[in-house]
Amino acid sequence: MVVDDEEDILYLVGVILKKAGHEVITASSGEECLDILKTEKPDLILLDVMMPGLDGFDTCGIIKADKEHKSVPIAMLTVKSSDEDRLRSLEECAADWHISKPVDRKKLVGIVNWLLKSSPRSHVRE
């Protein structure tokens, strides 16, 4: 699932991932993402941060607090790329990874494939 309030991004990322052989569903807000999760269980969520209403950090936090979906890997995909933003993704929101925009096609597909194969949180026992 790709979640972003910008249609261009949703389209572009969708095309890239479909060409790489993945099935893609999209949502244009945090609220829509949570709604879709009532009936779908994606293998991975790419989540924008800066969205009106529920932002990506809050959306991630809600998903990770939900027993049914907390194991779904989430990568923040955002222009917010400072050390503080990356730390917030990993520590505050328990995201599995943080990808800074802009990201090239090859890198995005590489990270998606890696997260689908072995998300860094999938085997962590604290």
Partner: protein, 238 residues
């Protein structure tokens, strides 16, 4: 010309930072640099064990409690060709230490050595931050998992106001099924990976025998990786 102080830091325990520090010090010394290794972990000194020292020597604790000079606590470890400042493992040694003397201590060592390699305590205690403030350069030691990488990132964020020069990261204990790939660790930490050190049984062997790995297993993959990191470090610190 004054020496340069390089700290090895990690956000959490278990990254193998102290072992890497010890062996990196030996590697730098083998490159012809007059090197001293300082165990700044006053609550968990480990250089004594790593170097297999079984005798009492003056320690960093003695300096920090005002009972010894810098010269008293720095000694030749001729077998390894590197000088050492070790810590005390006695709990009572912590009683009178003033860690704010640490910066002055490093300044004194800089007059005598080309490289002062500092093994910083893990975590983000006051002692850790004080040790970092005495460092010209910082290298993170991480393991390729999310807890270690995010802890190192936290250290980087929290010490931002200290104007530290973080010059890279060493990824230790690699070769596992779930390793975060090196390029992704670089992206996350915002620093270059200077080298990766594979998980290897020779490390455990060296720790249990108290023999320095670089000297005891000179042809191991770990030794080769550490020497490569040492070369890169020399290049980056100029």
């Amino acid at each position: 010309m004054a020496g340069i102080s390089i700290s090895l830091a990690s956000g959490r325990d278990g990254t193998g930072k102290s072992t890497i520090c010890a062996n990196l010090g030996v590697a730098l010394s083998q490159m012809g640099l007059k090197t001293v290794i300082v165990d700044a972990d006053v609550e968990g000194a480990s250089m004594n064990l790593i170097f297999g020292l079984d005798f009492d020597v003056p320690t960093i604790h003695d300096y920090l409690s005002g009972n010894a000079s810098a010269e008293d606590v720095t000694f030749d470890f001729k077998n390894a060709g590197v000088d050492l400042v070790v810590g005390s493992i006695r709990v009572e040694s912590l009683r009178d230490i003033k860690f704010d003397l640490f910066k002055g201590f490093i300044a004194e060592l800089k007059k005598k050595y080309d490289v002062i390699l500092i093994d910083i305590p893990a975590g983000l205690s006051v002692d850790t931050v004080t040790s970092l403030s005495a460092s010209d350069l910082v290298v993170f030691v991480v393991t390729p998992d999310i807890l270690s990488v995010s802890s190192a990132l936290k250290t980087k964020v929290i010490t931002r106001g200290m104007d530290l020069k973080v010059i890279g990261a060493i990824v230790n204990r690699t070769g596992g099924q779930y390793d975060i790939p090196g390029p992704y660790i670089e992206d996350m930490l915002g620093v270059n990976v200077l080298g990766t050190i594979p998980e290897d049984v020779v490390v455990k062997k060296s720790l249990s025998t108290g023999k320095i790995l670089l000297l005891d297993s000179p042809r191991s993959a770990v030794t080769k990786s550490i020497k490569q990191v040492a070369s890169k470090l020399v290049g980056r610190s100029k």
